[in-house]
Amino acid sequence: MLRIIDKDMKKVVFILIGIITLLAIPATVFLAMRTQELRKKAAPATSLTLSPATVAKKVGEEFTLEIKINTAENQVVATEINLTFDPTKLEALTIDKGAKFPNILSSGTVGSGTATIALGAENTTSPITGVGTAAVVTFKALATTTSPVSISFAPETFVGALGESTTNVLVSSIPASVTITSNATSGTITPSPTPTPTGSSLIPTLTPTPTGTQSGETGASSLQITAPTSNQALLTDQPTLVGKAPANSTVTITIYSDPITVTVLADANGNWSYSVPNPLGSGPHTIVVAALDPITNQTNTATLAFVISDGTENGASGSAMPVSGTVENTLILFMIGIFFIFIGTLIPTFTKIRL
């Protein structure tokens, strides 16, 4: 009788082990993929911005735009910048390297409605990091415009960085807009209207990154995102974004990864806010805000990452992102688990516990 029970118990144990193993494999694969995905999303994001963002000129005048790069956490080794614009309104005269890049990898070329240059770091041991001027473009205003015309980054624009494999680490690019008049009194850079980056001018290549830092071009004090805070895990999927900007300036807000671009006006004290009208998907998001500083005529940008939590993730630590996550670690843990399962199976088999 006891022997029969013992045999039945063995069967039950083996069946249980089989079920657990069958459940563990897909679960492990799912977790590993998810960890990888989170890690991928944690890849730092680089942005390119044309500065100043708005220009007013009269026909025949020349003006210069700087292409600013914010590498965020990336170690950038090279970039190929491709600009597009309306050739009936603008002519690009030159495109040259800025101070941030020591090397011209392929010469700046200007064509009808295009300007292109490839730039590189000195070498891979001295990659480009931080914020600075990647390139400088000189334009000539050709004809009057009825509404501002855009100078934007073409989708081929690429930024390569160490440790990011073949990925284009550029996740946002902010265009400039130009108003051309025949008015002889014009010819100054004006603070408004601030252009609104359109979906086509943005390059949504990667899901953006929680960099954890604000990256104002000329200092955090002129343009800030005060809420949410960096890497904050939010329980609402319709957060309110709050910040500071130059008084009465137009603030362009872009929310990634499905770019949502809106403009809001800062009040006389420089306060601005925006309540996201539609639910954002759970997971990481990045906000890029841009506003023209009327004093310096520079377009400042700030970037911030946050996470929409579905209430079940990251609750214990409150951390938006895992510190790290690799398939290797997960597989090692999986193997250890399998090892213990087998040990747990073999011990009762060999010790033959009898009731």
Binding site: V77, A78, I104, S107, T116, I117, G160, T167
Partner: protein, 467 residues
């Protein structure tokens, strides 16, 4: 008077028509081609050069084109007789090939490889006597290790090829031997060419295998100074070869290829393409890029003897003056023998033809005058191109009228804007030609002039403020 009318059959008419068609069709097509050529040439854009003297761009590099290659038209030290002339070219690197089939370097003693460097060393000594460093195109397969003894075949034992490469590097870069620094080793020469083996990116004659064992040899080299290993040294810039090398996982310190292109703009296009291909491979994007042979044609041509060749070099340098390759190797320093018809590739004629310098020889140092900060120059045309620079307040502009297919002469308007008021001396100097100097006074912040440029001419315009 009588009129004789003979009726011919329809068949005869058809045959005659067919014959006429066969005779005149090629002539008709030729006429169309010539017409198209004329129309297209006529539709080219003349230059209208404008230089903004206050718009400074990046510093101009002139070292990159002081690199030269010498082919193997003789199996001896071809540089020995022109050392002083080559030295005057201020060469940074001189590239040679045929290392293992011309200089009896590799032999066998039983199953062991033995090396005799004496003849190759003499050649290398001539190179270093010019002030240059050698670039070794590791070629071709030593006959003692090659399959069937054929120098463009793979070796019988790949490890022996690795050993040959290892010993070459140890000999020249080894601290206990020649102790040379910064030497570049290029794996093979034009591997895609039938003459040099028709290597492919796969199959029995896989260049990647050839490269891999060269890489193994390089990595095994002991007690060596820093050196570079690269390739693929193909007859043109080919994406499959470049990316194949990137993905091979082997040691790659530089990329190299050859460019025999009559259109100078293609050189800049190649550069842009290469950078675009490498952008997704950040570890490789910044590696040195070498055009280890270049010219307007790979065939022998009398164009190499005259101003055509010189204007082509200048025009290519203009295209690469910003964002160009790390080194651009002109092919070649000296003609081979029996080329008194002027078709040789050399900058200098062969010993049997008096070691005469051709116009191309003079272009490199001529362009060196352009060193300084590049100025914004606009208005280049189809034939006339150029660039401008400023150094110590002297403004220099180099203009080239290069017509690859014809004999286009152009009178070029040139305007300098944003000039400070005052008196200036304007010096106009043609490559291997006349030199004139005039004094001008600038009061309206600009100065305009014209220069008549014959086809295949290069001119340097120098503006110096007098007070």
């Amino acid at each position: 008077m009588s009129i004789y009318i003979r009726h011919v059959s329809n068949r005869t008419t058809s045959v005659i028509s067919l014959l006429a068609l066969l005779i005149f069709l090629p002539l008709f097509l030729l006429a169309i081609r010539e017409t198209v050529t004329l129309i297209s040439r006529a539709s080219g854009k003349p230059a209208n050069i404008v230089i903004d003297t206050k718009s400074q761009l990046e510093p101009i590099k002139t070292d990159f084109y002081h690199a030269f290659a010498q082919g193997g038209e003789e199996n001896n030290d071809m540089i020995a007789s022109i050392i002083s002339d080559v030295k005057a070219l201020k060469p940074k690197y001189i590239r040679i090939d045929h290392l293992y089939d011309y200089y009896n370097v590799v032999g066998k003693n039983g199953d062991s490889l033995v090396f005799d460097w004496s003849r190759l060393d003499a050649y290398v000594n001539s190179i270093t006597a010019t002030g240059a460093k050698p670039v070794f195109a590791l070629s071709y397969m030593p006959s003692v290790i090659a399959k069937d003894g054929v120098i463009i075949n793979p070796p019988n034992n790949w490890n022996e090829w690795a050993t040959v490469v290892q010993r070459t590097i140890e000999h020249y870069s080894g601290k206990s031997e020649r102790n040379m620094t910064g030497i570049m080793y290029e794996v093979w020469n034009e591997p895609d060419l039938a003459q040099f083996g028709s290597w492919k990116m796969g199959g029995d004659k896989n260049y990647l295998t050839l490269y891999r064992y060269a890489s193994i040899g390089a990595n095994n080299a002991q007690n060596s100074n820093t050196f570079s290993l690269g390739g693929p040294s193909t007859t043109g810039l080919y994406k499959t070869w470049i990316i194949g090398l990137v993905n091979s996982g082997n040691r790659v310190n530089f990329f190299s290829w050859h460019s025999y292109l009559s259109d100078p703009v293609r050189f800049a296009t190649d550069q842009r393409n290469l950078v675009s291909w490498l952008l997704p491979y950040p570890k490789y994007t910044l590696l040195p890029k070498l055009i280890t042979e270049f010219g307007f044609t790979g065939s022998k041509s009398q164009g190499y003897s005259g101003t055509f060749g010189a204007a082509h070099v200048a025009s290519v340098i203009r295209q690469l003056i910003s964002g160009g390759p790390t080194y651009l190797f002109s092919f070649q320093l000296k003609d081979g023998p029996l080329q008194s018809d002027g078709t040789g590739w050399g900058l200098i004629t062969h010993d049997d033809n008096g070691l005469k310098k051709k116009p191309r020889y003079y272009v490199y140092n001529f362009i060196d005058a352009m060193v300084g900060d590049r100025l914004r120059l606009s208005g280049e045309g189809t034939w006339v191109t150029g660039f401008s620079s400023i150094r110590d307040s002297v403004i220099r502009t180099l203009l080239i009228n290069f017509d690859a297919t014809g004999n286009h002469t152009e009178t070029v308007p040139i305007t300098f804007v944003n000039l400070d008021s005052g008196n200036y001396t304007v010096k106009q100097r043609f490559l291997v030609g006349r030199e004139t100097t005039t004094d001008i006074s600038v009061t309206e912040s600009s100065f305009s002039t014209t220069i008549t440029m014959p086809a295949q001419s290069v001119v340097l315009l120098e503006i110096t403020k007098s007070n």
